[in-house]
């Protein structure tokens, strides 16, 4: 579903991703872990083409996104992205935030999009907030709305870029629960996270990155309980 081949990314002289090769299958939940500055976020942002790779290829369902030109919008419509700082549209109500993209991209009529939004808000237990503006919501509520906004496009892949890092501790749980439910529903997910317990419980595969490289990857249980690389061992000893 996602295939990354020989991906390099430079910011000026600095190389932030070094020869990344990665394949993610449909329905798989992959967690990216590693110290800050290890390139996890850059990698996940490359998948959505918010960062342009310096060299290498990224294929989404067999299509090279670098060659997609104007079709990049079409590809992105099938990939949901959730950001650390939510990035809700502050001038739109919760309902408008969710219905905007399905309607503007012609994917749904206004009525269909609203029905879909209401259904999503119900599952998030946030239906009473549908006419509120983002400024009046808590961080956890904002992030759940942001997830609903992505899901409204009925994406095939969901990317989470440190979705809980900006939240107050008591709100992390409610967002992780939504993500867990989503994983159990069979969504293909790539999750950049510092929540090791979550990665261990929910991810099918965990990838440890450091200094722009994939250092080690394995099933969640094996990576956490039996890490091989000294750098992985050192990192896990600090965070677990």
């Amino acid at each position: 579903m996602i295939k990354i081949v020989n991906l390099d990314k430079y910011y000026g002289e600095k190389q932030v991703l070094k020869n990344i090769n990665l394949e993610i299958k449909e329905g798989e939940v992959v967690a990216l872990i590693g110290p800050s500055g290890s390139g996890k976020s850059t990698l996940i942002r490359c998948i959505d083409y918010l960062e342009e790779p310096t060299s290498g290829e990224i294929y989404i369902n067999g299509k090279n996104i670098a060659d997609s030109g104007k079709d990049i919008d079409k590809i992105r419509q099938n990939i949901g992205m959730v950001f650390q700082h939510f990035n809700l549209f502050p001038h739109k109500t919760v309902l408008e935030n969710i219905t905007l993209a399905p309607v503007l991209t012609g994917r749904m009529s206004k009525e269909e999009a609203e029905d879909k939004a209401i259904e999503l808000l119900k599952t998030m237990d946030l239906l009473d907030k549908k006419d509120s503006y983002p400024a009046s919501l808590s961080g956890g509520q904002k992030q759940r709305i942001a997830i609903a906004r992505s899901l409204a496009m009925e994406p095939k892949i969901m990317l989470f870029d440190e979705a809980t890092s900006a939240l107050d501790p008591e709100m992390v749980g409610e967002v992780l629960k939504v993500m867990k439910d989503l994983a159990e529903s069979g969504m293909t997910m790539v999750v950049v996270t510092h929540e090791m317990a979550f990665a261990k419980e929910v991810a099918d595969r965990v990838i440890f990155m450091a200094e722009g490289e994939i250092v080690e990857e394995n099933t969640a249980v094996d990576l956490f309980e039996n890490p091989q690389n000294p750098r992985t061992i050192e990192f896990l000893s600090k965070v677990l």
């Binding site: 918010l50 419509q77 992205m81 700082h85 001038h91 905007l100 993209a101 991209t105």
Partner: protein, 218 residues
């Protein structure tokens, strides 16, 4: 009240002046804002040449006095093109071109004040560049720049007084006529200042109303 009598006595001049000043301001505001929007898009464009053209334009128009610009358009159209231009039209062109330069910079600052995450969220949902600009960025930018834009519009109304130097029958010109026919130097100036003030004050109140309307989402 002597001053009121003066106003009533010469009211036909003042009325013409008010009408001309309002027309000049209104149309310059519309044309200037439209041009300013286009200029701003050029300025933010990826194409170096377009960017350079817009930058030079903005710098030149912000860096020269409006009085010079008006004279250049009015007399220049005759000297360079052989066109005997109507003075109102010349003033309209000059004020619009001048205002466009300021508006372009105001809009640019507004667009750049919107958080980069808004672009990313919108594009990641599959909206195009244009859709993102129109539905996500511009509405937030407009809200941010409204005070600055209101300021620019007030300045524009006041600056139109310069049109009197090329013979446009605006408020300032009317005031000069009243000065010379009434042999009074001071009172007509008080009257004209009061009229300009009531125009600009009304406008800034209207902008204030709009600002409050747009703050619904705070």
């Amino acid at each position: 009240m002597e001053i009121l009598d003066l106003f009533v006595e010469y009211k036909q001049y003042y009325l013409i002046g008010i009408k001309t000043t309002i027309m000049l301001s209104f149309f310059s505001l519309i044309i200037g804002t439209t041009l300013g929007g286009i200029l701003c898009l050029l300025r933010l464009s990826k194409f170096r040449l377009l960017k350079a053209v817009a930058t030079v334009y903005i710098e030149v128009f912000r860096g020269t006095p409006m009085m010079v610009q008006i004279a250049l358009v009015y007399f220049g159209s005759y000297v360079l093109l052989g066109v005997d231009m109507n003075s109102f039209l010349a003033a309209l062109i000059a004020v619009s071109l001048n205002s466009a330069a300021y508006v372009a910079e105001i809009i640019r600052s507004g667009i750049q004040s919107v958080d980069k995450g808004q672009w990313e969220a919108s594009r990641s949902l599959g909206l195009s560049n244009g859709q993102t600009m129109r539905h996500i960025i511009l509405p937030q930018a407009v809200k941010n720049i409204l005070p600055a834009l209101g300021n620019e519009f007030v300045t524009l109304i006041k600056e139109t007084a310069v049109a009197s130097t090329i013979g446009v029958l605006d408020l300032m010109h009317a005031s000069k006529i009243v000065q010379s026919s009434s042999y009074k130097a001071f009172d007509p100036l008080v009257i004209v200042a009061a009229i300009y003030f009531s125009l600009t004050f009304t406008l800034s109140k209207l902008v204030g109303v709009l600002e409050r309307r747009l703050s619904y989402s705070d």
